[in-house]
């Protein structure tokens, strides 16, 4: 799919005006902006000692030091491993399943929490199915993953408040989020130009469908709302060890494969990830409406940071699934492509 698009010659973002545009040399505005700020990048502030200082700053006086969001993917499983083994914290692992998690991912989580001997909360619900179906049936451009992440974060903050946990640990990579936009400080990356149109579509869907559906009267209107509510409810920071550690995924995949019996799933998009079944639908719609996905954004960032090559990203982002798979997944939602 990517081959038919004009993509940035440095990263993998396609032209998508007005948010992403290429200059005469074929380089996108996001890469140009990055070059301008590269010199005073946060290299020094992203050292592990900065992270360990923060762990002390958010020291818990309760039962758990931190709540680790674990999906069973490589990044979150590695985060779980580091928090337990490297930082020796007492943790509560938490997995959210909207009913579309893969068996492989759940097996990974189970193995990890068993081997590490950590307390574990598994929350499964089909609460959002109606919302997912509505996105498909109304041809909304809202990206399923964005709505899901709003609910997932909301739940996570609620659990942290319930157990008095001062720190939430996520497995976000350097490509997924930036340290400055610590979620506890009410910032999130939805304001980046790469996400601008997608965020508008999500907001439109939330304002129209979700707000007017009594079933979802408690559903937050945006990620900002989640953060504001969380701040009022319970003081809690969100951090990822991957922002501070120099190890890339090659290193920690090898580690968790060995230590936690972690496995790559048979079926997932992009290649070398562990994402849920619904992710295929999300990716399909994202490509259809915007020409790229949040994975393109993430991998482009990793390319800029020198952690991934453009060729690797293009290969990983190749669409290798078909309509039959999509229809199998959406059976539950009573929708056919």
């Amino acid at each position: 799919m990517m081959e038919h698009q004009t993509i940035c010659s440095k990263c993998v973002l396609p032209e998508s005006r007005p948010d992403i545009f290429l200059d005469q040399e074929g380089v996108c505005n996001i890469c140009r902006d990055y070059e301008a700020i590269k010199e005073d990048s946060e290299k020094n502030n992203s050292l592990e000692t900065e992270f360990t200082k923060m762990l002390k700053m958010y020291k818990s006086y309760g039962r758990y030091d931190c709540l680790v969001m674990c999906s069973g993917g490589k990044d979150s499983t590695a985060a779980l491993y580091y928090m337990k083994k490297r930082y020796k914290l007492n943790l509560l692992a938490f997995t959210f399943d909207h009913g579309f998690e893969t068996e492989d991912a759940l097996e990974n989580v189970k193995n990890a929490v068993d081997i590490l001997g950590v307390d574990f909360l598994y929350f499964k619900t089909d609460y959002m199915n109606e919302m997912f179906a509505a996105i498909l049936k109304t041809n909304s451009k809202a990206i399923i993953c964005h709505l899901c992440s709003i609910w997932y974060m909301n739940l996570t903050f609620e659990i942290a408040a319930r157990y008095g946990i001062p720190l939430i640990i996520a497995g976000w990579t350097k490509g997924q989020s930036k340290k400055q936009s610590l979620m506890s400080r009410c910032g999130c990356n939805m304001h980046q130009p790469e996400f601008s149109s997608m965020a508008k579509a999500a907001k439109e869907f939330l304002d129209t469908y979700v707000k007017n559906n009594p079933k979802y009267k408690d559903f937050p209107g945006s990620m900002e709302e989640v953060l504001v509510m969380a701040k009022k409810r319970h003081k809690c920071a969100v951090l990822s060890p991957h922002w501070f550690l120099p190890f890339n995924s090659d290193v920690y995949v090898e580690l968790i494969e060995k230590e936690l019996k972690w496995k790559f799933p048979k079926l997932s998009y992009p290649a070398h990830t562990t994402n849920c079944y619904l992710n295929f639908i999300s990716v399909h719609n994202s490509m259809k409406y915007f020409g790229y996905t949040h994975y393109h954004v993430e991998m482009s960032k990793l390319i800029r940071e020198g952690l991934l090559t453009r060729e690797e990203a293009i290969k990983n982002l190749e669409i290798n699934f078909n309509k039959e798979l999509l229809n199998n997944i959406t059976k539950k939602l009573d929708y056919t492509f």
Binding site: N44, L47, E48, T49, T52, K53, K56, R86, Y87, K88, L245, P246, N248, D250, V251, I303, G306, L307, L308, T309, R310, E311, E312
Partner: protein
Amino acid sequence: MNILGISCFYHDSAVCMLQDGKIIAAASEERFNRQKNSPVFPLNAVNFCIQKANLTIDDLDYIGFYEKPFLKLYRVLLSHLRAYPFSFKNFLDTIPNWLEERLILPLLLKKELGYEGKVLFIKHHLSHAASAFLVSPFEEAAIITADGVGEWGTMSLGVGMGKDIKVFKEMHFPNSLGLLYTAVTTYLGLEALIGEGKIMGLAGYGKPCYLNKFREMVTVKQDGSFMIDQRFFGFNKGSRMYSHRLIKVLGKDRKPQDKIEQRHCDIAASLQKFTEDILIIVANNLYNDSKIDKLCLAGGLFLNCVANSRILENTPFKEVFIQPAAGDSGGALGVASYIYHSILNNNRSYVMQDAYLGPDFSQNQMKRSLLNNGINFKEFNDDSLFRYVAQRLSQNKIIGWFQGRMEFGPRALGNRSILANPANPAMKDLLNQRVKKREPFRPYAPAVLEEKITEFFNAKQFSPFMLLSAEVNKDKKTIIPAVTHIDGSARVQSVSKKINPRLWRLIKEFENITGIPVILNTSFNLNREPIVCAPEEAVSCFKRSQMDCLVLGNYIAEK
């Protein structure tokens, strides 16, 4: 037992991680923050060292600091006071730094690292002595340390036995051979901390005809102790380290842009000879006092490989050990070793056989650096890699050679090196013109197969850290002209198959092609930049220079 040694705040900040007496990692901050001779608190190097040991800051049992800040401040304040009012500007420049960070190190460690554990301080020259002896192969040895100045000490003499070090003589500021060398370096228009090594090179072009002038300025006693006539110098007075009186004696001082004249070479040669003579007297006296024929040297002065060899040649000492980070960066290693062995009373079992203690990078990371910079490259297996690179060397190509873990200390010892053909008489100029942009009087160094060292050099012992010089054998001078200095000497690195098998194999292949078991080895950097650390920096260096070929692990890129 995990001990982190730190040296910083003056120049060459560095960190060393010692685990159960073994050095796990050591690196200078300049390689990470890319500021040459960086004096800042080594935050990046600390993070690298603890991560290499698979630890976090909370796993450390001790942090050791390489000198005693209060003692040093006492000296600084007193010498400012003595030199008042000329020292007032220096006073204003330096004292705020002391009050902000140097005096309150435990607080700084908490602020910067979140570390709240035990912190120990040992004296500057004891750190040097420990860095030289405690990781040496000797059970007992005489020890000499010498540099600009520590707290008060400028030179110390002692003996190491087992895990103990006894320092029994010390020279004190302002009588410092190191400061004398630096003062004359600046008089000759070169920069302090960078220029001293260049003076050593320049000395080869001169005759020591100013030796008597130095003897007039510095009174040397029979035991090698000396007194510098401070009327000729101004170590703490203002913007320069020498006075008008020195100019009266040696002639007009050279400005950096001035042409180098024969007079300058002669002054450099005289300074070098004067320094060597004092060190020889000191070493002979130390031998007479200790009757031990093994010698350990440390301190910035012993980065002077010519002086080191003269000591070996002119004293009864049979063997000398100088660890690769002989300057202040080695203080980090010294304090960590001293805490483990001498304070905590643990036996010695580790010998520092190599300097490869810095970061390494996977083949994937190297490949990504090349791909992300749009550089075409080929992957080779080991056999074909060494053969191919040796061929390119024999064809007079300049090679950037990036392998394994980065070296600790100022010398590139074959893991972050630029390599070239030593047999080409034009190679030195070619390398200067196309890559290094160095002063023409500075020589390039040879790396030789350890087993062939005496075939080419009149060496008394192996020189794995490039800290000894040796006369090139008469019949070989024309064979390796690019690494033979004007005075017929060379700053040799002997390469052992066991310690650096990849460099050894490359030289062996070069020998198979040319019959010469020697290659030219210089540091992988451009002028005034620190040596490269990561593949990205190697690629950047390759792109910005006229290097012909870049070898990153098993990948080769060519222009």
